[in-house]
Amino acid sequence: MRRRITLPLLSVAAVGASLFVAVAPASAHGYISSPPSRQANCASGAVPNCGDIIYEPQSVEAPKGSMQCNGGGSRFAVLNDNSRNWPAASVGTSVTFNWVLTARHATSTWEYFIGGTRLASFNDGGAQPGATKSHTVSMGGFRGRQTVLARWNIADTANAFYACVDLNIGGGGSTPPPTTPPPTNPPTTPPTTPPPTQPPAGGTWQAGTAYASGNVVTYGGATYRCRQAHTALAGWEPPNVPALWERI
């Protein structure tokens, strides 16, 4: 009886969800968080009075090919306003750009420009980005205050996401850490740090224990085999994370 009442309501909610995805302006995707892009400086409060972009720095989406900071769309024109006194991050001559992604679109390319010069292009060949995305880009001969335009070109739509990053190149500031190049793929080798605790064979899963691939534990009456070396932490109980534990 209850089922009969619930299902129509649920399907209305489902229709609503589809509409939301299709028409909501905030259909969210990604931006550069570090060095801070203009939209990141708005969202962090470093630059005041930016308007709606503070709620959705990830939504600067427009047709491919624009050279404007807002992608040439009707929204977020504040990003094109060079009179805004955007803070310029002091960087070396090679800069690592870190993206925050809220939707993992299949990607054709990531492009970086200063003025009309394309500094770099990274071809993902239609792949979905991983957990995080970073690119290290040489600034070529550019020095001093410059604005880098980054474009994230989506593989299966006509659109790109735009982000402008204001930099002071070779300004003597700290260079973004080149010592930890972000891996594009998860490392397949176990960590070099020694395990804090040696897991007893066939013991109960316990937070704080370093598990190696192949270790077997019990949890909640079931048995699991570790699929990837890691240190167990609260929240990563075996039933929660199939990437880490396989039930056997």
């Binding site: 649920l10 209305v12 939301f20 957990a131 930890t180 240190t231 990437a243």
Partner: protein, 177 residues
């Protein structure tokens, strides 16, 4: 825009004798179900980060988000139960097919986080959490724009304010130190 469309949808199914306005609408239900799903996914980042991050500021922020999420989730579940709605949208209903799951944290993301150590773990946790909180804000703002149940709209406003504050702090932590 969403609200208008939902109103039109509701009107299509209305009988000639207009019933009294319901206490809640489909946007309220969607907000609660999607938020609960985001909390469930986000727990896989904030709980481990609250314990395992190197930077104490990352640990503190992750613990704060975790505790607020747990409070919010209790309220959300209570409302859905009261409305005889399931705690999550039917995964086969098509609501999240295609585009929707692009916004989800994937199992592989947690695998990448678990493989990272030290500053790299912190960097990944901050980046994943930033993306996830933006999605939470998006759903809360949808409720503010199109929801009907006043307490749920109030909760959405509170969530937007809290998450925006945490996003500001995360953006500071995301910068090169």
């Amino acid at each position: 825009m969403v609200a208008v469309l939902l109103t039109m949808l509701a009107a299509c199914g209305a009988s000639p004798a207009a019933p009294p306005a319901p206490a809640h609408n489909p946007t309220d239900v969607m907000f609660l179900q999607m938020s609960l799903e985001y909390v469930r996914q986000g727990e896989l980042v904030v709980s481990p980060a609250a314990q395992g991050a190197s930077d104490p500021r990352v640990r503190a922020l992750a613990a704060e988000v975790r505790d607020q999420w747990r409070d919010e989730a209790r309220t959300m579940q209570r409302w859905l139960t009261g409305w005889q709605q399931p705690p999550s949208a039917d995964p086969d209903a098509g609501a999240h097919a295609g585009h929707g799951d692009l916004h989800s944290l994937r199992d592989a993301d947690i695998g990448e986080l678990a493989a990272a150590r030290g500053a790299e773990f912190d960097r990944k946790a901050v980046s994943l959490l930033l993306g996830h909180l933006h999605n939470c804000v998006e759903v809360a703002r949808m409720e503010t724009a199109g929801g009907q149940y006043p307490p749920a709209k109030a909760l959405a406003g509170q969530i937007t304010a809290a998450r925006q504050g945490q996003i500001r702090r995360l953006l500071t932590l995301a910068g090169p130190s």
